[in-house]
């Protein structure tokens, strides 16, 4: 400054503050802005993270569940089983055969057995070898080497089981005697145990047992237990008893052989099939599927599929080796009805039911919603009564969906009292009407908003050339509001598609009812229906873990895809019809 005044030129006006440094206030404002930005980023990251977790948990379980292991078996329609009395098989008789007699189970079991034999698999031998290996492994682990020789020498596994069982019992008796007060008895029992081991052929073990101090009391008991001989012998005996337990039921448990209705229907349709055979893919039991997909190792009790043992798994391994088991896409998931059995469960009627309900919702809520909106927006006088209606429509949008379910149930019971019987219960029509009530406010609000958004100049222009109010609305405002109405409608329908609670109350979740649907594509508006969300609910409640954790996710995946498709449709329609003015 002083230079400037010295130079005599006009002094530069003294700046109150420099532009080159930030004032405290500006710094504070920038800090606030940066904080807000980071908070926003953090919020979005959290949301994205949870979205990713959600999608991953659904996709990682749902996609594999869409594939199913199938056994290719030669299905032989055995006349001997179809008519146990011998002689010809009458088609009418087949139709009358009780499904629970297990005749088809017999067909399936025999066919599976035949297929395995043809593939060179020795069924009983495979099972036996697996169990013998298990017994020998148990013995080896306790230091009882040479178990295999003993089993071979004994002949049948059951005989070997008896030998090992006796030795184990002798050891158990010794342990009891050693803990007792009678020294003589303890000595005798110890020697007897050692002798039993020698008899079986485990000389080293016998020496070990004989070396235990019979007067040792508690120490002797501990020393005997530490050898682990008793447990190993009893385990081996248990394992060796298993092959004798293996029967047809254990064999047929591997595949899903209970689609009896199919077999019977096929036979009724075409009686010539009796006595012939055809290659069909039969689903592997859903529990075994987990073993095949590597979820369960089959080693140890906890790693076994529930209800299966290692003998059966060894057969599965043999079938895989013989290339009899393949993993294929579960097409029937999209056509079959819901079933308790995960092997054949599907979402066919649910898809159709949901589609029908969406149709009903579209028709009802679009017509009534748009009509109500046009009346309220364009024609209704503005008074307290219309204000009251408007407030209540807005309130209706916030009513919990279960309340609409209660309303639907009330309608249902009234109709049943009026003599419609049970026929309306759980139908797509009833479900659709209930969902329409739920969707209506959404559509009314969206429609009114888009009608309001049409510029008033269009209204003036139309009235100015002499259009009547109705012409103004239908020729000009409605077409311009259509994209908004469509978007609102699709969002409302997507919401309705995912709604479970009201449908549970009006009987759309009853699985037995939907089982009546012979073909998923024949269900009309007035037939028992299922819906996607209720089927997801049923899947998620299934007793089998693979259904709970696989098929439920698959169904959710299908539903999500449908919702995405609807939303994309909404966006495309909006893009296409959007006008600027």
């Amino acid at each position: 400054m002083s230079d400037a005044s010295l130079s005599g030129a006009t002094p530069a006006p003294k700046a109150k503050s420099s532009l080159l440094t930030q004032t405290a206030l500006v710094r504070k404002r920038h800090r606030a802005g940066a904080t807000l930005r980071w908070l926003g980023l953090a919020a979005i990251s959290v949301v994205l993270f949870f979205l990713a977790v959600l999608l991953w948990s659904i996709v990682s379980r749902g996609v594999p569940a869409l594939f199913q292991y199938q056994a290719q078996i030669e299905l032989f329609y055995d006349p001997a089983i179809l008519n146990p009395d011998g002689g010809d098989v009458d088609p009418a008789e087949i139709g009358g055969i009780n499904l629970r007699t297990g005749f088809e189970r017999g067909i399936f079991t025999n066919s599976l057995r035949q297929t395995l034999v043809e593939a060179g698999i020795d069924i009983e031998g495979t099972v036996e070898r697996r169990w013998v290996a298990e017994a020998v492994a148990a013995l080896d682990a306790a230091g009882l080497t040479g178990g295999g020789v003993v089993v071979e020498a004994a002949g049948a596994p059951a005989d070997a089981a008896r030998v090992f069982g006796q030795a184990g019992s002798a050891l158990r008796a010794a342990a009891t005697a050693l803990s007792g007060d009678d020294a003589d008895a303890a000595l005798a029992a110890r020697d007897a145990a050692a002798q039993a081991l020698t008899d079986v052929g485990f000389d080293d073990a016998a020496a070990t047992v004989a070396a235990i101090d019979a007067a040792g009391g508690a120490d002797a008991v501990a020393a005997l237990a530490a050898t682990g001989y008793q447990q190993a012998l009893l385990d081996a005996a248990g394992a060796l008893r298993q092959p004798a337990q293996f029967d047809d039921a254990a064999l047929s448990a591997l595949i899903y052989a209970t689609n009896r209705r199919d077999v019977r229907d096929r036979l009724v349709d075409n009686p010539d099939l009796v006595g012939t055979s055809e290659t069909v893919g039969v689903p592997i039991d859903i529990a075994v599927t987990r073993y095949l997909s590597g979820e369960l190792s089959g080693v140890g009790t906890a790693q076994l599929p529930p209800g299966f043992d290692i003998g059966q798994l060894s057969l599965v391994d043999a079938m895989v080796e013989a290339d009899l088991v393949g993993n294929s896409f579960r097409w029937h998931f999209f056509t079959n009805p819901y079933s308790q059995s995960g092997e054949i469960a599907g979402i066919g009627p649910a898809l159709m039911g949901s589609a029908y309900m969406m149709l009903v919702v579209l028709v009802f809520s679009l017509i009534f919603g748009v009509a109500a909106s046009i009346y309220l927006e364009e024609f209704a006088p503005k008074n307290r009564f219309t204000d009251f209606i408007e407030i209540n429509i807005a309130n209706l949008a916030a009513v919990p969906s279960i309340v609409f379910g209660i309303l639907g149930a009330a309608i249902l019971f009234t109709l049943m009292d009026l003599g419609f019987g049970n026929s309306i219960r759980g139908t797509a029509l009833l479900g659709g009407i209930v969902l329409s009530l739920m969707t209506l406010p959404t559509i009314v609000i969206a429609t009114r908003a888009s009608l309001k958004a049409v510029p008033p100049s269009i209204r003036d222009a139309a009235l100015g050339v002499g259009a009547s109010k109705v012409q103004m609305v239908f020729h000009h405002k409605l077409p311009l509001a259509a994209p908004g109405i469509l978007t609102g409608t699709i969002i409302g329908i997507a919401q309705a598609l995912g709604e479970t609670a009201p449908l549970l109350l009006i009987g759309l979740s009853v699985s037995t009812g939907a089982a009546l649907l012979s073909s998923p594509f024949s269900g009309g508006l007035l037939e028992q229906a299922q819906s996607m969300p209720t089927v997801v609910y049923l899947f998620a409640q299934n007793q089998d873990a693979p259904v709970r954790e696989g098929l439920a996710q698959s169904a959710i995946l299908v539903m999500l895809l449908l919702l995405f498709a609807l939303n994309i449709l909404a966006i495309l329609l909006r893009r296409k019809f959007e006008r600027r003015w």
């Binding site: 269009i458 100015g464 050339v465 259009a467 600027r580 003015w581």
Partner: protein
């Protein structure tokens, strides 16, 4: 143009198209227009001038009952079109608006094709029975609005894609297409640039051959250029009504003089 206007002014034997007597307009409790008496002649351009909020647009909208769409608006007094009271209970405003067309301040073509914009009025009023007739109406209306040569090759193009001046002429064509007898224009040039304004003004002058034109304008120059009769509104009152030349050169009321000379408004 000026010459022509002078000769027109001499002719004073035109019939009265619209006659307003003691018109009062209320918006709720606000008395927006008081005791307006105006006689609008056929084949004449009548301009309404006045400061903002003086009621000139309100009065214009009374002439084709566009005020009906405003709930709180009440109109009293008589407005006679060819001797018939347009506020009579038996009058259908839809029919009235076919006779009394309107052009708005902001060009407001429908978001449809140029053709559909013009054809809409004739269609709903049943003025054309066949496609050929409709084509003729559209062409003649666009010609009247001096737009035909600019758009004849793209009748299917959206009307909203035209320039501002073209849009306003399209709106005029749309109004003309219903064969009205009176054309109301509410500040038709206020959203336009000077060139477009000149085109529209020229057009108004031509339209005068066939219609009675009423124009509301903020621009006194415009009123002077296009109109033969001028009405000056102030604070809801019709202050002065008479020959345009007289209003602008020798006003009777001091308020008119103040407005014209720029002291008020």
């Amino acid at each position: 143009m000026n010459d022509m206007r002078l000769t027109e002014r001499d002719v004073n034997t035109k019939e009265i198209k619209i006659e307003a007597r003691q018109v009062q307009v209320f918006y709720g409790t606000t008395h927006a227009l008081k005791d307006v008496d105006v006689e609008i002649e056929d084949k004449t351009v009548t301009a309404f001038i006045g400061p903002s909020g003086c009621g000139k647009s309100t009065f214009l909208r009374c002439l084709n009952r566009m005020n009906d769409t405003i709930d709180v608006c009440r109109v009293q007094g008589d407005i006679l079109l060819d001797g018939e009271d347009i506020y009579d209970k038996r009058v259908d405003p839809v029919q009235l608006r076919a006779k009394v067309g309107m052009v708005f301040q902001k060009p407001n073509p429908f978001p449809k094709s140029i053709y559909d914009n013009v054809a809409y009025g004739p269609k709903i009023h049943g003025l054309a029975r066949t496609k050929v007739e409709l084509d003729e109406v559209v062409e003649s209306s666009l010609r009247r609005a001096a737009l035909w040569n600019e758009v004849k090759d793209r009748l299917d193009a959206p009307g909203t894609g035209l320039s501002g001046g073209q849009q306003q002429r399209l709106c005029i064509a749309r109004a003309v297409a219903t064969s009205p007898e009176v054309l109301l224009m509410d500040e038709p040039c206020s959203a336009l640039d000077p060139i477009a304004t000149a085109q529209v003004e020229e057009l108004i002058d031509e339209l005068r051959q066939s219609y009675s034109v009423v124009i509301v304008t903020h621009s006194m120059q415009q009123a002077a250029r296009v109109s033969q009769k001028t009405a000056f509104f102030h604070l809801g009152n019709l202050v002065e009504f008479g020959e345009t030349s007289k209003i602008f050169t020798n006003p009777e009321d001091p308020r008119t003089e103040s407005y014209i000379t720029g002291r008020i408004g």
